[in-house]
């Protein structure tokens, strides 16, 4: 690890759904400046881990820290206020609200926010995402790729220190996928920290500085992409599918 500030940490996380093991003694640390690809076969516990680290799910045991503060039991909006943003595996937008309103919601939850400044910021975010021309469209009328971009925009309005993106490339046209990758890289260069979950290995390898691999609820590899790709345990996990 580089010695950068620790943004989010999960320690000894366990989560079971009845007889199904989702996370087992899972340790996961996100440091400032990371661009982590979180991969693994279906059912390896990636989304469960994100749900726990963003406050949407309580672990059976283990601890969560955001910015060094223990945050177990706090509701998800507190995590958002502390700078932890996330997108969802299946895009979840405010469908009958306009694109602009979708961005105003997170912007206006921030303390001391003023409406005029938030509107300005929202419009700048839409321009960054090349979506300024659809600001008055209802979110449900956007294409699938545009909805993914809007969800990214909604995360950005929180001015987060870390963004968890759950399958941002799923079902996205290659052209739009490339644009998403460029936006993420640009934001990373500006200082944002990312954890990206996806099955699109090409995109993950293009983006990631660090790869974390999960299988059957546990972490089986964590390191630079080249090192992880050569890891026998990783290969076995994927082939064993």
């Amino acid at each position: 690890m580089s010695g950068s500030a620790e943004l989010v940490r999960g320690a000894g996380l366990n989560k079971h759904y009845g007889g199904i093991v989702a996370n087992v003694d899972m340790d996961f640390t996100v440091e400032e400046g990371d661009l982590i690809g979180l991969i693994g076969p279906n059912g390896s516990g990636k989304t469960t881990l994100i749900n726990i680290l963003t406050g949407h799910l309580a672990p059976d045991s283990g601890e969560i820290f955001v910015g060094g503060q223990r945050t177990n039991g706090r509701p998800p909006h507190i995590y958002a206020a502390m700078g932890v943003a996330r997108s969802f595996q299946v895009t979840q937008l405010f469908g009958r609200m306009t694109v602009l309103e979708n961005l105003l919601v997170p912007g206006l939850t921030r303390r001391h926010s003023r409406r005029e400044a938030v509107v300005r910021h929202a419009r700048e975010t839409l321009e960054f995402l090349h979506m300024g021309h659809v600001e008055q469209l209802e979110a449900k009328n956007l294409s699938g790729g545009q909805q993914k971009l809007l969800e990214l925009g909604r995360c950005l309005m929180l001015e987060p220190s870390v963004l968890f993106l759950d399958e941002p490339f799923a079902g996205v046209h290659p052209t739009l996928r490339d644009e998403l990758i460029l936006r993420i890289q640009e934001l990373h260069q500006q200082g944002r920290t990312f954890v990206v979950v996806d099955h699109d290995m090409e995109s993950i390898l293009r983006l990631s500085r660090r790869l974390v691999v999960m299988a059957r609820g546990s972490k089986i590899a964590d390191g630079p992409p080249a090192e992880v790709q050569a890891n026998q345990a990783v290969l076995a996990a994927y082939v064993g599918l």
Binding site: T54, G55, H56, P75, P76, H77, A80, A81, A85, R86, F88, Q92, L93, F94, G95, R96, M97, T98, L100, E101, L104, V105, P106, L108, T109, R110, R115, V119, A122, Q136, R154, M157, L158
Partner: protein, 316 residues
């Protein structure tokens, strides 16, 4: 609101108020009842339309407000305005409590729970006849010692105007955006930083408080409170008023209340056939105009005088 529609609303309102002394007493009564239902419809639209919390306990809140005010005035001789404030505060608290209990409920589960709550309230009020005089009704001290209904008409208008002003400020503020976000997707709202639990409880509390206010006004106007005020029949009428007018906007909910209340009176000669007629209106609305029958007219009305599409964000 743009200048032209605003001017029309102000003109119509001023004309109605100025010519009120000329109204036939019967139709003035209908207008007063319509204004009471308008407060109920607008506040229920806040809860069910803006936040998506389909509560069937709203008339029970009106009943609680009315009985609270009536009993406090009767037992302790407090001034009626103090009683009315007390009734409103009581329903604010009860609404917050129900909102807290219902935090994990939505859709049909919430509807059934609040239906059960409403029935419990009605049965308690019916059974505790030593306190409430049961089904015979509790005599309520009238607000005004007046030969005409005019003071009630003007007060009803003031309550309606104030209620719409306060609810309007709320829905046009960031709170309004948060409430609509909760309706659309609670999980995404939480991920966006919205304190979902707090706003659900707040919505229940505020909507219930306005229902309680309407209930206190009703009691001190009509002069009697009966358990049937909180019953399912009136709740069904409220649903028809709000949904057929337009559940997701305050003005259309208010419009629905006025139209249905006046239609109920105009169709009085059809006796019990009125209710199937309104049931049919509700079915047709849900099938062909889910946003409400008045919504298209309202959207056209507020656009009067518009030159270009420069709608400000978050304003409906």
């Amino acid at each position: 609101m743009r200048p032209i529609p605003l001017a029309i609303v102000v003109l119509l309102t001023a004309t109605s108020l100025a010519t009120a002394p000329l109204y036939n007493s019967y139709w003035m009564h209908v207008a007063i009842i319509a204004m009471m239902f308008a407060i109920l419809a607008a506040s229920w639209s806040l809860l069910a339309g803006y936040v998506g919390l389909f509560s069937l306990g709203h008339m029970a809140m009106a009943s609680i407000g009315g009985y609270t005010s009536a009993l406090l005035v009767k037992w302790y001789g407090i001034p009626i305005p103090v009683g009315m404030v007390s009734g409103t505060v009581m329903t604010l608290a009860v609404g917050a409590g129900i909102g807290w209990i219902c935090l994990r409920m939505s859709g049909p589960y919430l509807a059934i729970f609040t239906l059960g709550f409403a029935e419990i309230i009605r049965i308690i009020l019916s059974s505790e006849d030593q306190v409430t005089n049961g089904m015979a009704g509790l005599r309520v001290t009238p607000l005004f010692d007046s030969a005409t209904r005019l003071p009630y008409f003007y007060l009803g208008f003031v309550f309606l105007a104030l209620s719409l002003l306060l609810m309007g400020l709320m829905v046009r503020s960031r709170w309004g955006l948060f409430l609509r976000a909760i309706r659309e997707d609670e999980q995404a709202a939480a991920a966006s930083g919205v304190a979902v639990a707090r706003f659900r409880i707040l919505a229940f509390a505020i909507a219930s408080a306005f229902a309680g206010l309407a209930g206190t006004f009703y009691g001190h106007y009509i002069g009697i409170m009966t358990p049937s005020v909180g019953g399912l029949d009136l709740m069904a009428v409220l649903v028809v008023m709000t949904v057929s007018g337009g559940i997701e906007r305050l003005p259309t909910a208010v419009g629905g209340a006025f139209v249905v209340e006046f239609l109920l009176e105009l169709l009085r000669e059809y006796a019990q056939w009125r209710l199937p007629i309104f049931g049919a209106i509700l079915l047709l609305t849900m099938r062909f105009a889910r946003n409400g029958l008045l919504t298209p007219f309202w959207l056209q009305f507020v656009r009067l005088g518009k030159v270009r599409d420069d709608a400000a964000p978050g304003i409906q």
